[in-house]
């Protein structure tokens, strides 16, 4: 069945960071597709139909009537979206697809989500859905950024932590100045740090979203070091 393609109005934009913008795309009248939290959409401008980019949804499947994507200024599309996209503009949107899906069923799983930079965006959707549905799924985000100024969705994740006792959000900063007052973790994501957060290995599912380097390092940890089957590892490479 061909994928549904629809022209959508940019309803609002929010600068999350100086180089990162959330764009809310309003569904047109009659649009009602079935999709899942964690999937991505593909977008293009009406004046450049051959030039498409895919972005993970940062909104979740319970958010109806709109899609949200959170875009970093990266390449021609990322630059145009971050610097120029404004409410009232229109984008063509190819319906969500992808298999980077949270395992909420069966219940009782622990999802350990490893993210770098803008790779955290689908995990906002995971946390939103788990919290709103009051699931017993445990969710842990381990998030690597350069400095505290690069943390996307910091306030929302902290708010979700308050609402959902089964959700934890941890940040590690890789390039902070030694004098920075940050009291959280510093340095890259390591196998030891990940293992600190795993308490029930058979019921843990690992997710990695970010650069190829981050995703491949996580794959080595999960598949080679922890000797887990591929079914307990889901990845999304974004360069």
């Amino acid at each position: 069945m061909p994928k549904q393609i629809a022209e959508m109005l940019i309803e609002s934009v929010t600068m999350e960071l100086p180089d990162t913008k959330t764009i809310r795309l309003q569904w047109p009248a009659g649009y009602d597709v079935d999709f899942k939290t964690g999937q991505f959409i593909t977008v293009y401008w009406p004046d450049a139909p051959a030039y498409k980019r895919a972005y993970s949804l940062s909104s979740c499947a319970l958010d109806r009537g709109f899609y949200e994507i959170t875009v970093k200024r990266d390449g021609k599309m990322g630059t145009r979206l971050v610097d120029w996209a404004k409410p009232g503009d229109k984008l063509w949107v190819i319906e969500p697809t992808g298999r980077f899906l949270p395992v909420f069923d069966p219940p009782g799983k622990h999802l350990v989500c490893i993210a770098g930079g803008s790779g955290v965006t689908p995990f906002r959707a995971f946390a939103r859905e788990a919290t709103r549905r009051e699931l017993d799924t445990r969710l842990t985000i381990l998030y690597s950024v350069r400095t505290t100024n690069d943390i996307i969705f910091r306030e929302e994740f902290q708010q979700l932590e308050q609402e959902n006792e089964r959700f934890d959000f941890y940040v590690t900063c890789t390039r902070l100045h030694p004098d920075d007052p940050w009291t959280g973790r510093r340095g890259r994501i390591t196998a030891e740090w990940v293992k600190e957060h795993v308490h029930d290995l058979p019921n843990t599912v690992f997710y990695a979203c970010g650069t190829n380097e981050l995703v491949e390092a996580t794959e080595r940890l999960v598949l080679d070091e922890l000797k887990l089957p591929k079914e307990q590892m889901k990845t999304e490479k974004w360069g």
């Binding site: 593909t42 051959a50 030039y51 498409k52 980019r53 895919a54 990266d74 390449g75 021609k76 599309m77 990322g78 190829n212 490479k237 974004w238 360069g239």
Partner: protein, 128 residues
């Protein structure tokens, strides 16, 4: 999935290939690189006449997933660019070692090209 690593080329760790003919080298990105990028939708090439140093970012390739810099595998002057690939970026996916080439360099130091990875070394790098 197996990736092609032609035996007659040299390779950079950053996944560019180099085909040397005399003092001119043709540059593109490898089959492994295009596979990792997925569908290429945009290529920006350096201006003809630009002098580049080995390891210098001089082009951009953008796929549906990401944008990546392309680095000069060796030093030299850009003497020709492949307009076909800017008009049809999908050539990078379809023919990475053929019609999907990026630019040609007049080499300023042939020894640099000789020091790049052999096909065997590059295959080992990508886990082939």
């Amino acid at each position: 999935m197996s990736t092609q690593v032609p035996a007659d080329l040299k390779y950079a760790k950053s996944h560019e290939w180099l085909r040397v003919a005399g003092d001119v080298a043709t540059v593109g990105i490898t089959d492994h690189a295009q596979h990792e990028l997925t569908d290429v939708v945009f290529v920006e090439l350096p201006a003809v006449g630009r002098k580049v140093k080995a390891g210098e970012a001089c082009a951009v390739v953008e796929s549906v997933k990401t944008a990546s810099d392309i680095y000069a595998p060796a030093s030299g002057e850009v003497i020709e660019v492949n307009k076909a690939v800017t008009d049809d970026p999908g050539l990078v996916n379809g023919e990475p070692y053929g019609k999907g080439w990026f630019f040609k360099l007049k080499l300023s130091d042939a020894a640099e090209a000789g020091a790049l990875l052999t096909p065997e070394a590059y295959t080992a790098q990508i886990g082939g």
